[in-house]
């Protein structure tokens, strides 16, 4: 027996199998149905655009690791997730070089410059999308007609602008829009998978979607239509549940979801943009630290702090 072989480490000595990389892997699996749907709806270009975004996001992440002398972090898969989610927020017609700018902004500016995984205050994919939307407004609203498999892409308006589309078409994704957001069915399958696998808590998505429906009816709009058209479901399931930029307690997550829903509706109904999901989530990302502060958990059996301080003072005397 050689005691020098023995490892001494603090307890616990066993750990759950669930690592950051596994969590991100589950998210990628959950994104897969929507990916398949987008390829069916918009053709092969969608296939390549998503792969391109994921690849460039990983490349940017690795370059940052090298330049900033950080540990290689592409193995945690978070960059790939960001790339795919950003791609889902782009029109299928977008030139690849613009998409590369988008992933650059998402990974380098919104994430790595703030310290990498876990340190960014806003969802990188949302930041990437908003920067592209403001910088390339024409390219970013060049919506393709679904199922039109020709070299020449014919563009159309999104259902949010036209305001007339059948529920079933919206549900299955037979409408124009960002490549990942159109098929509500596929997104919901992904969402249910994440909840079942206990990757996300359903608090934020339900609060978000519920608020959109309720608020729309309250101001005389069609709530179901507002839920199915545009990016509410994509945002609620995959972006309002991003761990890093949303509140850490379930109570906070409900507040977050309600806030996202209200801002989304206000922008849609009275703002100059047709879509408000990205801004809704971005603004709520910014108030997340304050929501966290207000929703701190109370430890079980804890006494108020003042009393303890008095006791300490009494002891000192």
């Amino acid at each position: 027996m050689n005691n020098e072989n023995l490892i001494v480490s603090p307890s616990p000595h066993i750990k759950s199998e669930r690592t950051t990389a596994r969590v991100m892997g589950h998210v990628l699996i959950a994104l897969f149905p929507a990916y398949v749907a987008s390829v069916i709806i918009f053709g092969l270009r969608a296939l390549f655009l998503v792969l391109f975004c994921a690849a460039t996001a990983v490349i940017w992440e690795r370059l940052c690791n090298i330049i900033m002398k950080r540990q290689n972090s592409i193995g945690d898969l978070s960059a790939a997730v960001t790339g795919v989610i950003l791609a889902f927020n782009l029109p299928v017609t977008l030139p690849f070089w613009i998409a590369a700018i988008g992933t650059f902004v998402a990974i380098v500016i919104a994430k790595q410059l703030f310290g990498g995984l876990g340190q960014n205050f806003a969802n990188p994919a949302i930041v990437g999308r908003i920067v592209l939307m403001l910088s390339f407004p024409a390219a970013m609203s060049n919506w393709a007609v679904p199922f039109y498999n020709s070299d020449k892409i014919i563009t159309s308006a999104t259902p949010l602008v036209t305001g007339k589309a059948k529920y079933i078409d919206l549900f299955l994704g037979k409408t124009g829009g960002c490549l990942g957001e159109v098929c509500a069915l596929a997104l919901l399958i992904g969402g249910v998978y994440l909840v079942v696998m206990k990757v996300i808590s359903p608090a934020a998505p339900l609060a978000f979607m519920g608020t959109v429906v309720a608020f729309s009816y309250l101001v005389g709009e069609d709530g179901i239509y507002q839920l199915l058209a545009g990016g509410v479901i994509l945002g609620a399931v995959f972006m309002a549940t991003d761990y890093v930029t949303t509140p850490i307690t379930n109570k906070g997550r409900v507040i977050f979801g309600i806030g996202c829903g209200i801002i989304t509706c206000v922008i849609r109904f009275w703002g100059s943009f047709p879509e408000g999901v990205s801004f809704g989530i971005l603004l709520m990302n910014i108030v997340t630290p304050y929501i966290d502060m207000a929703t701190k958990k109370k430890p079980i059996g804890a006494l108020p702090l003042e009393k303890k301080e008095k006791e300490v003072k009494a002891d000192e005397k």
């Binding site: 000595h13 690592t19 950051t20 972090s73």
Partner: protein, 434 residues
Amino acid sequence: MRLNGIHIPHRKGTQYFETQTFPVPERVKISMSQHMGAPCTPLVKKGDTVKVGQKIGESEAFMSCPVHSSVSGEVVDVSDMLLANGKTCKAVEIACDGQQTMSEEIEPPVVTDKQSLVKAVRESGCCGLGGAGFPTHIKLNYDESKVDIDSLVINAAECEPYITSDFREMMENTQDIIEGIKTLCKILEIENVYIGIEDNKPQAIEKLTKQTENEDSIHVVKLKSSYPQGAEKVIAFSTTGRIIKEGNLPSDHGIIVMNVSTVAFINRYIKTGVPLISRRLTIDGDAVNKPCNVKALIGTSVKDLLEFAETDFDKAQKIIAGGPMMGMCLYDADTPLSKTNNAFLAFKEKTYAKKSLLYKGQTNCIRCGRCIGACPLGLMPTELEKAYDRRDKDALNKMKINLCMNCGSCSFVCPARRNLAEKNQLAKGFAFSK
């Protein structure tokens, strides 16, 4: 309301292995610090002859109980010894003569009232056998004018993986447990007894339920298998529904919590007068070829115990005293068995260190909130870690770092593999420092 808990693997492979008696070793080393509280002063010196059950260590301190010799033989050395927790204390080394001659001091105590019970339990050298090792007589010596004890909670949850020593106690010594409970109830005038057992031990639940059928005051409570069900505060809540407040003892809320093996020992002591000189423990782990439950004398070397269980010493890289969630690593296999050790586990090299496509090391906190959902006491481990990293004493106190009991649930669930429990312990020390 319910307290948070986590699912951990049970791995109770030794549960059907009947307890074997470990032979008397050639030499024992009995440390003077066997439990929480003050260490004892040795009463014997080199060259003395000692007998089984003879008192060899005693202390005047409040939080302490005596230490007895587990063998008969000659004291060969009284020296300083480094404990697994880093503290130093005296240890008495005895060369056994193999006769196991019983000491004349041994005689069944006369227990008639609370005072004599407390005295007897103290003299028996009894401390909590579940792992933490709180001297038992202090639990019993509550102030009757201030608190009214109405419930006795028998902790048989055994929520740590691998360990089955309490389960074997329940299967093999059921009568001792029930009689011990009855004695305590009679003397302390306790109305209700709750035996909390996790539902992964259905045989124990069945056996105890059957044998307490005619006892109206004894309730066998089936608890959900969720870690840390056996923590004092958690089991007190799961059985009685009472929350033990910050800084309070269970007795402040009318409860005494006692481990199932402890109560069985008290009964045996009252019957025979043989003090705490041996205990049952589990030996398991992936480096152990013949996992088993053994009854061994206090002071037996862990190395001998592991050899008995055919441990592969060349491959063993981690030897843990206790369970894998809260147990302490040993730096030397030649450490003696103490009263509080309910298991020794030997593990090979960590399997997750293998190369893998996915990154399995530590990452930044991804704020998933799993640690918050895991903490049984509702603390926020990730926030505590951040507060400790910026050395913010006020924030740590505000977030009640003092409540952390180091159950390790937060570290277990963390996907970023952050050592949250370790940080909490460091933070506790920091927050209490002036």
